[in-house]
């Protein structure tokens, strides 16, 4: 049984159908990438999974439980964390307070301390800036904070929306090596990316979204070699 399963999921914003009958699944331990043009509905799918957008039809299961009518906070408590587009760090609060708020749903103080320490080990720059307001960090640092904060809830799966958006190439490399490292430690990841080629290189499988529908799916390697995908999304 897949960890996350979308069965004919549709989402509408008013009269506009943003996502139409999407079938998608993510197995435990996989990194799966969702690519597609701007406005194809990639973010909407992530927002629907985490409960921010209301599902219009179809079934949405996480770890065998129906989560289609759950609030975002309840879904996070089940172990599904969403690192949103544009990072959305709490600009006025300190780096450390952002991280501690990431652990808001947890009660195990020792575990929180341990995970805070391992966040700082994974992202040494966050330790240097731990008392600074998060709004004063650079874009790359904010993205690292957003990922670290999502991990502080000790999730079983991570939704990552456009982690490379607006970052310098070197920083993008760094972000993707973090994704590899997380996956090597067993984290299941569903990734949405503009940078399709790079994302597919770091994924097991991929889905291509076109006007709210799945246009193609397959192993990441196959999609990278597929001439249609290449032309439409990889800019080759």
């Amino acid at each position: 049984m897949p960890l996350l399963e979308l069965d004919r999921v549709s989402v509408s914003y008013g009269p506009v159908q943003a996502v139409r009958e999407v079938n998608l699944h993510v197995e435990r331990g996989e990194v799966v990438t969702l690519i597609g043009a701007n406005g194809a509905g990639k973010s909407t799918i992530l927002r629907t999974i985490s409960g921010l957008a209301r599902i219009g039809g179809g079934a949405l299961n996480f770890d065998g439980k129906d989560i289609s009518r759950q609030r975002p906070d309840a879904i996070l408590r089940l172990g599904l964390a969403h690192c949103p587009e544009g990072r959305q760090v709490l600009a006025r609060q300190s780096v450390e307070d952002n991280l501690l708020l990431g652990a808001y749903v947890r009660k195990d103080l020792d575990g929180i301390d341990r995970d805070l320490e391992s966040s700082y080990q994974m992202f040494p720059r966050l330790r240097e800036r731990r008392l600074q307001p998060a709004g004063t960090l650079s874009g790359g640092e904010q993205q690292m904070l957003a990922i670290a904060r999502a991990l502080m809830s000790a999730p079983r799966m991570l939704l990552l929306d456009e982690p490379s958006l607006g970052l310098a190439p070197l920083v993008v490399e760094e972000i993707f090596s973090i994704i590899d490292a997380l996956n090597a430690r067993g984290m299941t990841i569903l990734l949405v990316e503009q940078n399709a080629r790079l994302a597919l290189k770091h994924s097991h499988r991929g889905y291509v979204l076109e006007s709210g529908q799945i246009a193609a799916t397959g192993q990441a390697r196959e999609l990278l070699d597929d001439s249609r995908v290449l032309e439409a999304y990889l800019g080759a």
Partner: protein
């Protein structure tokens, strides 16, 4: 101006300003989390004052449906103040349920809640009038037990009157401000509340139940409103069910002057306006109600975002 008169004005200004601050904090908390003004806040202020009066004094006057009735018990003033404020807090929660949540659940424009909260305000005020009439209620002089009404202090040969209610107001305000600052900056709940105020959607992704925090905010806001109403009532009496309206408007002036959504701004704004009113020369006392708005006008000319407001930066 002699030194005694100067000190008298400072004392009067600080004590009334402290009440304005407490009242305005109720506005500002809701504003910081929802981005809109709760127009029922003035009505909650009035209701809190009447409830404290009922609990402490126990009679309902000569008009209205409750005329001639009296409460079977009387509470000492501190307990009545607590009770009245709690009822005001619960009313705040009801205001959220009736005027704000249904619109939010339907995804309606946030501005519509201005109108629905104004509607709830009218209902509360008219219910009060129906129950206890439009007459003036005053707390009796022995309301603070054996404490005298005022102390006379001589400064440089001149007389300075320190009213007991002023001391109580200043003490209650100090305790409240320290508690609020501790709650907002030192507790997990306070930080979650700040996160909700900064970005409700992100807060929900962090596992924060945003609706529950909105309800808590309305409760705290209502308690602050009820406290302020009671303290004003104890100072100047309860001048009919509409007496909260002018304070409601003045409270708006306070938060705009201090900076919308800023907690220190609400405190500073209240004190500034309180002092401004106190230092108004007696010949111009008919302009007292206008002082807040005149100050607002000139301060906004210099600082459009208010004294401690953040300059809003539009992100592209």
């Amino acid at each position: 101006m002699n030194i005694a008169l100067f000190l008298q004005n400072i004392l009067n200004g600080l004590s009334i300003g402290a009440v304005y601050s407490i009242f305005a904090l109720g506005y500002t908390l809701v504003f910081s989390i929802l981005g809109i003004i709760n127009f029922a806040h003035g009505a909650v202020f009035t209701l809190g004052a009447y409830c404290t009066y009922a609990l402490a004094v126990g009679d309902f006057g000569l008009n209205g449906l409750l005329a001639g009735l009296s409460m079977p018990f009387r509470l000492p003033f501190p307990l009545a103040l607590l009770g009245g404020s709690l009822i005001a807090g619960i009313t705040g929660v009801l205001v959220e349920r009736l005027a704000f949540r249904p619109l939010r659940a339907k995804g309606a424009d946030a501005l519509l809640a201005l109108v629905s909260s104004l509607g709830v305000a009218l209902i509360i005020v008219n219910l009060l009038q129906m129950l206890v009439g439009a007459e003036i209620y005053s707390f009796p002089s022995d309301i603070f037990g054996s404490l005298p009404m005022a102390m006379i202090v001589k400064v440089g040969g001149k007389v300075l009157a320190v009213r007991t209610v002023q001391i109580i107001i200043l003490a209650v305000s100090m305790v409240l401000l320290v508690l609020l600052a501790w709650f907002m900056n030192r507790t997990r709940m306070g930080k979650a509340l700040q996160a909700t105020a900064e970005n409700p959607e992100t807060a929900s992704l962090l596992g924060i139940n945003v609706d529950r925090y909105i309800v808590s905010t309305f409760f705290i806001s209502g308690v602050l409103g009820g406290l302020a109403g009671t303290l004003i009532g104890a100072s100047f009496g309860l001048a009919g069910p509409y007496f909260g309206v002018s304070y409601g408007l003045k409270g708006l002036a306070v938060i705009v002057l201090g900076g919308l959504g800023s907690i220190p701004g609400a405190v500073l704004g209240g004190v500034v306006i309180g002092l401004g009113e106190a230092f108004l020369p007696p010949d111009y006392s008919s302009l007292k109600e206008a002082v807040a708005f005149i100050m607002l006008f000139f301060i906004l000319l210099a600082r459009p975002q208010g004294l401690l407001g953040r300059q809003t930066i539009q992100k592209v």
